[in-house]
């Protein structure tokens, strides 16, 4: 498909750009790694005090944490440029250039820039998931490996859909960054087991912003404690993408009819 080969070309350009800013890559990556590590450190400290948190062992907590971290890393690396939609592309009119090319503007926006800081998060996510996976015997059977991959891929796609959806606010407010940051804060809850929090927070992360389907439910499924129908995951992801694309369509129509 044309978009796939184009994607590779864009990615190659991004890598070449990254290479020019090596020092930044290291600083930023370390920073995000440390920030996310903090949350895990807190869990580890708690684990030294009590044997389990709401029935979750430290290993299980690491798996949960690792899953959401992987998804967030993916979102940060590949969709971070959406934060700039409001200020750079709408307000400053850079969007015009994208609209004049025979290529989807959303695709162009997402591929214009890779956020290298995300690699720090990626490293942490891989480390946690791998370690937890080994301790929980998740790599023992083909079936569980496939299941793990399924959850990881679905999680990455779901979280990106949420980012794309809320970035569309930038068409109207000329500032996507703030709303994306706010929505992102809520994702912090999904680093920990749902039962730890009161009902309303749990509902928030399940039905409003379905982060729980990236970390909590998959981790529960993999450790055998809770089973939700597997069809639900891709369904939610699909619905999220649908909403995101509709929002974007409306946003571009709005931009094209009022000018700047």
């Amino acid at each position: 498909m044309r978009y796939l080969s184009l994607y590779w070309s864009f990615f190659a350009i991004n890598l070449r750009t990254l290479y020019q800013y090596k020092a930044d890559l290291v600083i930023g990556a370390i920073a995000t790694l440390l920030t996310q590590l903090g949350g895990m450190a807190m869990l580890w400290l708690v684990a030294t005090q009590i044997s389990d948190l709401a029935g979750w062992s430290l290993r299980q907590l690491m798996l949960l944490y690792g899953l959401i971290t992987l998804a967030r890393a993916f979102d940060m690396i590949f969709f971070d440029n959406l934060h700039a939609l409001g200020s750079e592309y709408v307000r400053e009119g850079k969007l015009d250039v994208l609209l004049m090319r025979p290529l989807s503007p959303l695709f162009q926006l997402a591929t214009a820039h890779i956020q290298q800081d995300g690699f720090g998060m990626l490293a942490l996510g891989i480390a946690l998931t791998a370690y937890a996976g080994v301790s929980l015997d998740l790599f023992a059977s083909f079936h569980s490996i496939m299941l793990l991959l399924f959850f990881i891929i679905n999680g990455a796609l779901l979280i990106s859909a949420i980012t794309v959806l809320f970035s569309a606010a930038g068409f109207i407010t000329a500032n996507s960054h703030i709303i994306l940051e706010s929505v992102d804060s809520i994702a912090d809850f999904a680093h920990y087991p749902r039962p730890v929090f009161p009902r309303w927070i749990g509902n928030l992360t399940t039905w409003v912003l379905p982060y729980a389907f990236i970390s909590y439910y998959p981790a529960s499924h993999l450790s055998g404690s809770l089973h939700v129908s597997l069809w639900l995951y891709p369904l939610i992801t699909l619905a999220a993408w649908l909403a995101a694309l509709i929002a974007w369509r409306a946003g571009i129509r709005h931009y094209s009819s009022t000018g700047s």
Binding site: Y21, T35, A41, D188, V196
Partner: protein, 262 residues
């Protein structure tokens, strides 16, 4: 009188970004909720954690988050507005000692944060747990001393980082890094007593602890009253060292900035 004017002006400057305020408030609240609900589970099974009771821990969590938000807000403003836009040069022209000017400005930021982040946060989290406040005049005095020292230390570090950001042209990464260090080594995420020995020693040497942990720990009642004076004294010594270093470097840094920007 002019100091007061500067202070109020700084407060108003902050209000220019109401959305940023909302986002900061939200992330502060989320951070508090997350930490508290987790630690609450621990306190269900035991009364004390490393010598702290639930009230002290809760107070610590709330105030450390508010204080962290304050630091990050400051750093972002400093990097974004003062140095990159070159406003710093205008500051140099003002008829006030630059450093005094900044300190006063920072006090204005603190007032702003107290009103617009601190107050709503406290109101919202009040029903969650038991906030504790210090007893005794001497404790309060020592607390305020510690607070002032932490502000001074904070501003010195922020200035160094902002200058570094200017030279390397990579502000986002350094902001991130600073936030991460605040969370881990300054007590932004958890009281430092919980750290294992080797890390605890590192945090004692690094200046980050003095920016955040010391005053908040004193306020939360986590420090036995007989240890408070020595803690504050140590903080004083470290801040004096920072201050001396800053004297040497600031003049040079400002010169360079002026040259580069002009």
């Amino acid at each position: 009188m002019k100091y007061w004017a500067v202070l109020i002006f700084n407060m108003r400057l902050n209000l220019v970004y109401p959305l940023a305020l909302f986002a900061t408030l939200l992330s502060t609240l989320v951070s508090i909720f997350v930490a508290w609900y987790i630690w609450q589970r621990v306190f269900r099974e035991q009364d004390l954690v490393a010598g702290m009771n639930a009230g002290q821990m809760f107070t610590y969590i709330v105030f450390s988050r508010i204080f962290t938000a304050h630091h990050i807000w400051n750093l972002v403003r400093l990097i974004g507005q003062r140095i990159q836009s070159g406003d710093i040069l205008i500051d140099l022209l003002r008829p006030m000692q630059l450093q005094t000017y900044y300190l006063v400005g920072r006090a204005g930021d603190l007032l702003f944060m107290t009103l617009f982040i601190g107050t709503p946060t406290l109101l919202i989290v009040l029903p969650l747990g038991q906030l504790q406040i210090p007893h005794g005049l001497s404790t309060y005095l020592l607390f305020f001393t510690s607070l002032l020292l932490s502000l001074m230390a904070g501003y010195i570090l922020e200035f160094w980082i902002a200058s570094l950001a200017f030279y390397t042209n990579y502000s986002w990464g350094l902001e991130s890094l600073y936030r991460a260090l605040l969370l881990l080594f300054a007590g932004g995420l958890f009281p430092l007593q919980l750290l294992p020995e080797p890390l605890l020693m590192i945090s004692n040497i690094l200046p980050f602890k003095d920016i955040l942990y010391t005053p908040v720990a004193i306020f939360s009642g986590m420090v036995p009253s007989n240890e408070i004076p020595s803690m504050v004294t140590l903080q004083l010594v470290k801040v004096l060292i920072l201050f001396t270093l800053s004297r040497f470097t600031f003049a040079r840094l400002l010169q360079n900035l002026a040259i580069q920007r002009g």
